[in-house]
Structure formats: C-alpha cells, structure tokens
Amino acid sequence: MYRFSPAMDALIEGLRCLPGVGPKSAQRMALHLLERNREGALTLSRSLADAVERVGRCQQCRNLAEAVLCGICSDTGRDPTLLCIVETPGDILAIEQAGGYRGRYFVLMGHLSPIDGIGPEEIGLPILEALARDGEVQEVILATNPTVEGEATAYYITRMLEPLIPRLSRIAHGVPLGGELEYVDGSTLAHAFSGRQPVRGS
C-alpha cells in the first residue's frame, strides 16, 4: 500500500478514533484538510487541544464543564430541588432542546453493566448519594435509556435513593409521537402498555 508520509499516516490513524470513521473515510478527511482547507485544519487542531485541556467534569453533576460547576449547576434560575438523572451529556442536550425542564441534572456517564465491570462506582453513584443526602433535592426523575442496562441502572438508583428522596419517578417510554402503532416494535409497545396512563375512572 502506498503511504504519503509519517505525519499524514499519523493524522489518518488519529482521525479513526472518531465513531464511524474507517480507514477510507479517515484518508478522505485527511486529504481534504491538507489539500483544501489548511486554515480549517489549524482552527480544528487548536480548538481540539484547547477543549481537551480545559473541559473537565462538573464537580456536582459530572456534566462537561470548564469551571468547577457547569453552566446549569451555577445557574441560579434553575430549581435546585429537582434533579434529572441521565446517562450522557448528550441526553442533557436532548432534554434542554425539548424545553420545559427547569431543574438540574446528574450525568452517570454510562450505565451499569456488570458483565463489563461497570458498577456503581464507575457511574458516580457515591457522588449522587452524597448529593441526595444534602437534603436539597426533593424530586428525582430517572431518565436512563429504555434498554435493559438503563432499566437495571434505574432500578439500582431507585433502591439507593428511596430512603432519601420524597419523590422519585422514571420517564415514560412508549410510542413515539407521530409514530404508527403498526410500525412500532414489540418491546416498545409492551413498554408503552405497562406504563399506560389512566384517562378516566382511576
């Protein structure tokens, strides 16, 4: 196989750390950056180094943050008695974009996966427990994914927080808005049935 140069090879290899980028697309990206957009390449390399150096974790909620606290935790306009537990910072983005939620978050950075050795410590549950013991949080909303691991994680956290938090709920998972029942897969439908809401009489 023909090789351009050691630096080029290193760049191609480096780009492959991105999800969904195989050797071919890494090659295409590298050529694009060096042939057509050197300025963009420079901006990218600077902001990448900058972000890696400056972005850490929020000490309170484990969200990505540049300061000790993230933008949400330091926002005095947010309701500190309300806490939503999510798996990833991406989930925060999704909930924020949907709008309507004014509380704070706690980011697990994953879910329990005993077979992979990911236990309570790895997803920050001791920090969450300490936060719950502070006594400020009155309501917790569990927004882990509707996968079996997400479900197991929600269950584990429920057991841990039950004695500490007056109100605990799990977000409903069900038929997507605008979805047609016929095309919804069986497990989603089963979930939607078991989480059905009363409309009258109960």
Binding site: R16, P19, G20, V21, G22, L112, P114, I115, D116, G117, G119, P120, T147, V148, E151, A152, Y155, Y156, R159, M160, P163, Y183, V184, D185, G186, S187, T188, A190, H191, S194
Partner: protein, 258 residues
C-alpha cells in the same frame, strides 16, 4: 456457513471496530457465537435493529461467515416477553454472566438453551406478577442445577461418593466439587461447610425453597467455584450491593437471590 433465522438469545454486546458491535449470542443449534453487527443504529421501519437486539428476548438471527467471528445478516423478533425489571432483571444478568463465563464458543447446548429460555420466562413472570423473592429463588436454582448437569459438573445427590451408601436424612456430608458427597461427623464440621442429609434429599427432589433453598444456593456456589476461577461474578456482587441498603435483617441477606 450461512444460517437463517436461528433461535438465539443475546448475552452481551459491545462496540467493536468502526461503527460495529460485537454480539455474544447463545443459539440453539450452534451454541455460543460471536457475531459482528454493522449499522445497528441506522433508521429503518419498525425502529433501528439495535433496539430489537436486546438481551433476554427471544430472537431469530441470521448470520454467515467462517472462523471465530461470524457476521450478522438479519434479525427478527422471536416472540414477545413481558419486560424484565427490578430484581428479576438483575437476576437475568446473572444467568447471562454464568453462560458467558462457563460456555466455550461453538459449544452446542440445546437443552441448556431451552433451560435458559425457561428461566428467563420464569423471571419475566415474576417481574410481571410482582411476587418477587419467593418465586425468583427457585427459578434461579432450577437453572443453575440444569447448568451443572449439562456442563458435567453435577454430582450424585443420592449416594455418598466415598462408599456408595445412600444419603441418609440424619447424616451430614461434605461436598467435594467434581467428586460428590462424603459423610462427616456433624460436630466436626461447621454448619456452613457441610450439608444436612435432609437438605440434599429435598434438593434431589427439586425443592429449592425454604431451608433447602439456602443449602441449594451454597451447593451451586461450591460446585461452580473451581470452574469460575477466582474472579467473582460481577452481577452477583452488584446484586448483593443493591440488597445492602434495604436488607436490614441477616435473614433477608441470607435469603438474597443469586
């Protein structure tokens, strides 16, 4: 090899190379297999394939290839199951971890496949009726004893392996993995290191609740220990910590699931 719509359970999945996942599945005719799956998050009618490929639900998988890792070529639901949750769900992880730890790739175990499906269905029943602890325990023991049997790790529950005498209700026995029971003087042996004849007899008849249930659990641990090695089962220790904050009484901890 090219296989169409093989009944399978997904034991585990993890990211693998570019945009792919490595599925560890238990199939009825080919045993435990490693399958590479691509594009699981791609949108399609009825939801992405990745959403269908969840553990503990019956699946029909198509795959092809040769060598250690095969390629997933298709997947369909193999039947519906009430969703697992709570302790039943944690127990299901434990069953899968047992298979992952004890089964070799391509080890064909059709009877064990059936037993796994039955155990998952039992756990799902427990989860949907909410009648938790009592029915959870026997379901787990039934599967574990079946597993011991199919893998050849079971011992004779009817005789003393050292002399061939029939197990007596009023005697006490030490359990030696891969050998069997050997009578010991009751006083010479602490109660948690030996088994009462009555318990062994009850277990032989499939009574996995109450006192003999606790003995059955200890028996399984003893028999599996040499085959699991020194690394503890992770789902079991997680199961125990979730019990921790709630289980105030010693009895409840003792009676705990896996």
């Amino acid at each position: 090899m090219r296989v169409q719509l093989q009944p399978c359970y997904l034991l585990h999945r993890r990211p693998f190379r570019d945009n792919s996942e490595l599925l560890d599945v238990f199939s009825v005719e080919y045993g435990r297999l490693g399958l590479i799956a691509r594009g699981l998050s791609r949108r399609r009618r009825g939801g992405p394939l990745g959403a269908l490929l969840q553990p503990f639900r019956p699946l029909l998988l198509s795959f092809s290839g040769k060598g250690e890792l095969l390629t997933l070529t298709g997947a369909e639901s193999g039947g519906e199951l009430a969703p697992l949750h709570g302790e039943a769900l944690l127990s299901a992880f434990y069953l899968s971890e047992l298979l992952l730890r004890l089964l070799q790739r391509f080890e064909v175990q059709p009877a064990l496949f059936t037993a796994y499906g039955a155990a998952i269905a039992d756990l799902s029943d427990v989860a949907s009726t909410g009648n938790a602890r009592l029915s959870l325990e026997p379901a787990l023991r039934r599967f574990e004893f079946r597993l011991l049997e199919e893998l050849g790790y079971a011992v004779d529950l009817s005789t003393d392996a050292s002399c061939g005498a029939v197990i007596r209700a009023d005697a006490h026995y030490a359990l030696v993995p891969d050998f069997g029971f050997r009578e010991v003087a009751a006083a010479a042996s602490p109660s948690n290191a030996s088994f009462a004849g009555t318990d062994i007899m009850a277990i032989a008849e499939g009574h996995f609740d109450g006192v003999s249930g606790l003995a059955a659990k200890r028996m399984v641990r003893t028999l599996l220990h040499p085959h699991l090695g020194s690394t503890p089962l992770r789902s079991r220790s997680m199961f125990e910590t979730t019990r921790g904050p709630r289980a105030q009484t010693g009895e409840e901890i003792e009676a705990g699931g896996v």
